[in-house]
């Protein structure tokens, strides 16, 4: 942590994500829909693995409640 190209960027991000997960949960959006992982540009396989895992998580959760709300409004 702190060893970031954007100086304290990852420190600020980590704090915001911790806060946001709980705010999302309170607002009725599953906090698993937000994920933060540190992967360097040299770690392609880790990135792929993480994305596949995240995709599975999202698939299991089903469509986002936000998407359904948007569709209702448009209709």
């Amino acid at each position: 942590m702190g060893d970031c190209h954007y100086l304290y960027g990852n420190v600020a991000t980590e704090k915001r994500v911790r806060f946001l997960k709980k705010l999302l949960a309170f607002s009725g959006i599953e906090e698993e829909r937000l994920r933060c992982k540190w992967v360097s540009s040299a770690e392609a396989s880790e990135f792929v693995e993480e994305m596949q895992d995240f995709t599975e998580t999202l698939r299991a959760l089903g469509p986002s409640p936000l998407k359904q709300a948007g569709a209702q409004r448009a209709a």
């Binding site: 702190g2 304290y8 420190v11 600020a12 704090k15 915001r16 911790r18 806060f19 946001l20 709980k22 705010l23 949960a25 309170f26 607002s27 009725g28 959006i29 599953e30 409640p65 936000l66 709300a69």
Partner: protein, 266 residues
């Protein structure tokens, strides 16, 4: 009920310690903010209790920012309840007011108001009027937390859908002092439709309240659609406290989310 406040303000004005006192006055049947500058003209001063305790409150500390900017060398007094004092403390940390130029005169809120506000501290550190009421926890937050995730979403969407995007919550908020507001950024916020894009509009504001909201509840009072914003921001404050052990107005120092200065590097 105002005798002690008037006496204190008279003293402060006569001694020259303050240039003026920002409080509330009743004129023509209405209560509104007023800058009292003459120690012999405090007759119209009220504390803002018209039909019920605290039913006429104003963001006095927000108004004070503007007055202090026009008269940077002068010291002003200001009427504070517990929440207003938390507001002052937080505005000091955001460099919006200079603590050396502000003399708060405190009133403690009656129990009825403390109950209605679910206030964690319904009194300032020092007060000349009223008695210390018991602190209350946030039953409204507990109630929503008790719902399952789908019901929480439905319940908030139902509330947010009534929004007429009047910006009342932001305009009255003593912690909203930014020159540019994300809620007016055309790239982020669509114009010309009601309600605004929900829940994003309200969640953006909730995120910006993190490390700032001092739970005065004026947003909730001013909302023409009765959206329970206070409950949302109470939860925001709870999360920041749980995660970072910081509660604006109660804790010392800057918000853990402040990206300027040393706070960001900790």
């Amino acid at each position: 009920m105002t005798q002690n406040v008037k006496k204190k303000v008279k003293e402060l004005l006569e001694s020259g310690k303050i240039k003026g006192f920002l409080g509330l006055c009743q004129k023509n049947g209405h209560i509104g903010p007023h800058l009292f500058c003459d120690p012999d003209d405090l007759e119209s001063m009220v504390l803002g209790d018209e039909e019920r305790p605290g039913d006429s409150r104003y963001p006095l500390n927000k108004l004070l920012i503007h007055i202090a900017r026009s008269y940077p060398d002068e010291t002003f007094g200001v009427l504070v309840r517990g929440c207003d004092e938390r507001g002052l403390k937080t505005l000091y940390t955001w460099n919006q007011l200079n603590p050396d130029k502000v003399i708060p005169v405190g009133v403690a809120c009656p129990q009825e108001l403390a109950d209605a506000c679910e206030c964690l501290r319904p009194y300032p550190e020092e007060f000349v009027e009223g008695e210390r009421a018991e602190e209350r926890s946030s039953a409204s937050v507990t109630k929503i937390s008790g719902l399952d995730v789908k019901d929480r979403f439905t319940s908030w969407m139902k509330e947010f859908a009534r929004c007429i995007k009047c910006y009342g919550c932001r305009d009255i908020c003593p912690m909203c002092f930014c020159n540019e507001c994300s809620l007016e950024a055309e790239e982020l916020i669509h114009t010309g439709e009601l309600p605004p894009e929900i829940p994003i509009f309200h969640l953006v504001r909730a995120v910006h309240m993190a490390g700032r909201c001092i739970d005065c509840g004026l947003c909730n009072e001013v909302c023409p659609a009765d959206i329970p914003l206070r409950t949302l921001y109470k939860k925001v404050a709870d999360i920041i406290d749980e995660e970072f052990n910081y509660r604006p107005g109660y804790s010392e120092g800057k918000s853990p989310l402040n990206i300027l200065g040393s706070a960001a590097e900790e």
